[in-house]
Symmetry: C2
Subunit: 339 residues, 2 copies
């Protein structure tokens, strides 16, 4: 974990500035990743952060010792209900996180404004965050390098996924449940590994990621022993589409453009209708986070964004190639495994 | 996964009956576990279930093939916004799940009522659910049986946790990240495994669980080679407290009573102040679900509830003993590893 540091204090300062601009005296942060982002403390139980003049972390007894390390004022409570006597008339909330129940119980009748600035802040990674992501990307590459040899030997998808996760754990934590999908299963984007035997005479999709200090990576490769048949052709088209998408990930460009370019290439070969999801997504403290890189994306790329570009074709078999890209004047691909 | 079956159709019928009693024509189910409970389909992407006269599953393209297997009408959409034109003036929602954002975007101005009956239904497990939980409990027992030998050999907490998870995966999925906590780390209830070397001359807490067909188990043992010193004494007290708690898990008894009994025993020995969390929780499609077994619990035990009883003492070292109990005329302990 980050622990409390210069960067977390700076983030809190910025958040308080944003609240000030919105003329709000108190923000209530509930999302664990947002609490971690602002304080370095990842709750393991119920917790909330009050962004006031002097920020306050409200935690249960179980998390008291962890929360103390942040250097932020903490209040250990048995009942959150009693702790949450908000005296302000207008408060900042995470509207996509706070439940109707929470609102009705604790804030009914108050004005609430969305703290959208938290999403904006988290979309653009600072130097410390990029270091964690780079480290996680290196680990993902190392594991992907071993994956090919794990896939042999008549093992099932499940067994291969377990071995890959075990390998990730020697250096980091798995960012999510590893996907190993062979043959027709590769045509299901979010396939869960089964007892099907892995045979590299059919396409095998391996989707994996590592988590370092809370920061995730996400990458996919599709393996197949024979590149001369129809599979090889689809593979080369998806790769061409991916490259076209990656090219668009630069500062100032529209967030829509990678998706437009990826679809343009796939369409050229009549494959666009087999592409079932958006082209990519932001990655950071969550495996999927803003910005979404799809048709309906709004806004522009900013320096420090980290996104995936992951076109796929899902027919009788599937091909997906996914890399993580750091946005700058030029796109920088962080995952470097052979394609 | 369950797949669509007789039990899911019966659950939908019951849910529609509850809605009818509330005079509500349409319920919107968003929580993935609730969608799974009612349909046998576990979304891997955004999805919602409309509980109307003829229930409708709204899913993204990615989940279309999975959702089709339910036998329920499905609608595959690219944009959920357009799909959600609710014509009813009053709708049922999961108030503890639905975000303020969702409410404001899709339901603003409508009357919403909480579908609390979903929590009530899920609290009481039917025969099919109990079978899955029993199977997961057997697997947890088998793994716990091996855990003791995994803890040897100078390995770190992380390495031991990885090996235990790998073992779970040979039969099931891990219900959560396995906890291995040695020495002073055992005093942190939700400790995350570190690089600390495991030494059974100090207490080692192992908290693990398996997931079978979506159903979880949760159990904890505390290992220590020497039961003659202060540790052995604390261990025996926690075990006595646990037994007293388990005894209270019978049909018709107050949900508060296990917590009262556990604390009574701990208090007798002056240890109650070191017990940092509630006595237990329901387990099922979620690792923590209603009912909460604590001071503020309301209501009575019902036949078919499955709960944990897990007293702990967290001082300079920690002791926690956790088992899963099936509620009936008498409590039935489902996890049977030696204590």
């Amino acid at each position: 974990m980050l622990g409390a540091g210069k960067s977390t204090f700076m983030r809190i300062e910025r958040a308080l500035d944003f609240l000030g601009e919105m003329d709000i005296e108190c923000g209530i942060v509930l999302k664990p990743e947002n609490i971690f982002y602002l304080t370095g403390f990842m709750p393991t139980s119920r917790a909330m952060l009050l962004l006031e003049g002097s920020p306050l972390l409200i935690v249960s007894q179980m998390d008291a010792s962890l929360a103390k390390k942040t250097g932020i004022d903490i209040k250990v409570v048995k009942s959150f209900k009693r702790a949450l006597k908000i005296r302000y008339r207008k408060v900042g909330v995470e509207k996509n996180v706070m439940s109707l129940q929470f609102y009705e119980r604790y804030l009914k009748g108050k004005k609430v404004a969305d703290m959208g600035f938290l999403r904006k802040m988290r979309m653009v990674k600072d130097g410390e965050e990029i270091e964690h992501i780079k480290k996680a990307a290196e680990i993902s590459d190392a594991v992907m390098g071993e994956a090919r040899s794990i896939l042999g030997g008549g093992k099932t998808e499940k067994e291969c996924a377990s071995e890959i996760e075990f390998l990730i754990k020697t250096w980091a934590e798995p960012a999510f449940d590893v996907i190993v999908a062979v043959g027709e299963n590769s045509a299901i984007p979010h396939h869960r590994p089964t007892k099907k035997i892995v045979d590299v005479n059919y396409p095998v999709i391996v989707d994996l990621g590592a988590r370092v200090n809370g920061y995730h990576t996400d990458m996919t490769r599709t393996f197949f022993s024979d590149l001369t048949g129809g599979f090889g052709e689809v593979y080369r088209i998806v790769l061409e589409a991916q490259k076209a998408g990656i090219k668009e990930c630069y500062e100032g460009n529209s967030l829509k453009n990678p998706d437009i370019e990826v679809r343009r290439v796939l369409k050229e070969y009549g494959l666009e209708k087999y592409f079932l999801h958006s082209t990519g997504h932001g990655v950071g403290l969550e495996i999927h986070e803003p910005p979404n890189i799809g048709k309906r994306a709004k806004g522009k790329f900013e320096k420090g964004m980290v996104v995936t570009i992951e076109p796929g074709v899902y027919r009788d078999f599937g091909v997906r190639i996914e890399d993580m890209v750091l946005v700058g004047k030029r796109p920088k691909v962080l995952t470097k495994s052979r394609k």
